[in-house]
Symmetry: none
Subunit: 192 residues, 4 copies
DNA sequence: AGATAAACGAGACGGTACGTCCGGTCTTGAT
DNA sequence: ATCAAGACCGGACGTACCGTCTCGTTTATCT
């Protein structure tokens, strides 16, 4: 009962990968705003039409490159040692380090610009920055243990953390590790 | 001892206002990404050069229109009744309402895109969304009253709140009023 | 001793006819310049490769469609009643009628464009417009009867007539029947 | 009572000339069909928009270059020694020489293609090939001297001559000088 | 009361990128 | 081997804006 597909040539995976990799490179080099489809196609060694055939916009290309892990370094993935507060602190420290460098800030703003323009990127933003998968669940666990004391859910808390980072990136201010640490304490600690 | 200029007409305030208003209108109609200097000049009935003479980029025009209050509705300004938690909740409610509508989400994302691209807009983002001026100071007051219990500063707390809103706007998810309310409680309540 | 081919199906005559007919239709609808191989294949319901396999260019397709009589109406074929001058006049009258209509002019110009671009079409142009087959021979007969009086050959005379038509088509001026008639008289009459 | 013109910059004559000259060069190098607006702009060192601003199509550019005498060599201009038949013969000889060379044929076919595609070029075709200005008037003089013997007008006769040349160019056959000479005799000689 | 010169509207200019169309080649699975 | 289908690389199309640069006109200030 398998779905039969039409005859004719099949999508070239080489072209697909070349385009995603070119897009990731150029994203890194020039930032989202200065990306062009033309530039991507040229760098990838493909025709423009091959990009337009499979993606509707540069945002969609970036969204897919993001999913493939071609854009953000692994470093940004949150650690998981079992110690929630420590992991949170380490993750925020990493992000803080990234935001100390102009290049890291630019990268962050580029992602934000992409997310603002393209729904697909937007929906993947939290996942891309690692705010799901770990803290959401783990903060939730902490919340569950002490439901009375923590009226906000884990997802909301991790969103607030991520939000802090984004606000700092947008306002061009570095993220002080101490600040991050304190906020983690507020958010993850039991409340009276 | 101010520097005097030689002669000739002085900057036309009519042109300046026409440009800022045209920019605000077009920002509202098309969003930041689809704004063009050419379109602004045309709508304003001025020459392109008059825009370029006084602003370096469309971002700068928008930044100034933002400062003049031509872009965001007054509604978004935070209330100040004296009851901190109530005011916070009301403000978040307003923002939540705005984010429920597609148009409001688009507006928010447009501001974010502008902030991501233009440093001036970025620096004014918090002010533009009303996160300063009130809560920062007032949360700080609350913090000062009970320094041991609240390890995060007022500014950080209001950033986290604004961040939550931004994350929701970017991920295209509405901001549930309940969520906002709970988060306010977490952030503004004394901690153990 | 004929050369046998290895295996597989033989050229599909259905595809060949479909392509020629599609080409003729599109030639009529859009003119030579706006023909595309892609359009022909689509209209014919064949693959592009099937066109490229058998013809080197769109000009060659048109040349073949011309030979098959799919492009020009039969009307343009010259009459043969035995009365040379009358036949010539009638033929020129027909062409003149065609050139009075914008559509007829466009058709004529399309053929000319095809001839200018493609050698095969060019070589068949005179045949396609019916200038051979009849007048050449018959003018030649007239010439032969009176060699002293007619220093130009029949072929040359018919070329001059066809040339007049072409010049009129290119210069977008109608061909006055009187003009044609007079020229026929000059060219076909005995000279002193 | 002079016509007042709008304010603002005026059309750049340098750009105009550069475009026409580039077009003429490329016409000569590649022929009309393989001309591109992009190529013209590049060769001229102008933006594409500057071409599109002033001309509607590549045909219009070529038409203007033709008028400026940038495309056809002066050689093709008809001589005027006073001896009509000799001048005609010399002019046809020149054209015949041009058509003997492949390059000359290609040039001629290119003009024809341009005329077939573009009305402006078409209307200027006769003028461009020198068939007006001289022979029309002079053949007409000859006709006027002997109205009974010459039922075709000078314009028509020169069209027929030009037509012969065009037919030969399209059918890729050289124009034999003898043929031309004989036809001149037929057309210009008095008729019985 | 000029003369000077900056600001203005208009928009031409050399460019870059857009998103689309088509050319000619190549690949796939079916006949 | 040929066919229908259509993906591929390439390149030109005609359009929209970019940021810079004249133009000719309109003021405000300086002499």
């Amino acid at each position: 009962m398998s779905e039969r597909h039409r005859s004719g040539p099949v999508r070239s995976d080489a072209a697909r990968r070349a385009i995603l990799e070119a897009a990731a490179q150029l994203f890194d080099e020039k930032g989202y705003d200065h990306l062009t489809i033309e530039g991507i196609a040229q760098r990838a060694g493909t025709g423009k039409q091959t990009v337009y055939r499979w993606w509707a916009s540069k945002g969609d290309v970036i969204a897919e490159a993001l999913l493939e892990g071609l854009i953000l370094p692994e470093t940004l993935a949150p650690p998981d040692t079992g110690d929630l507060e420590a992991d949170l602190a380490a993750w925020l420290q990493t992000l803080s380090d990234v935001l100390q460098q102009p290049r890291g800030q630019a990268l962050m703003r580029s992602i934000i610009a992409a997310a603002a323009e393209n729904a697909e990127v937007g929906k993947r933003l939290r996942a891309a920055l690692g705010a799901d998968f770990v803290f959401t669940r783990r903060l939730q666990d902490a919340v569950d243990e002490n439901p009375d004391a923590a009226p906000a859910s884990g997802a909301e808390l991790s969103e607030a953390l991520l939000g802090l980072i984004i606000v700092r990136a947008l306002s061009r201010e570095p993220l002080d590790p101490t600040t991050a640490a304190r906020l983690v304490r507020v958010l993850s600690a039991p409340h009276s």
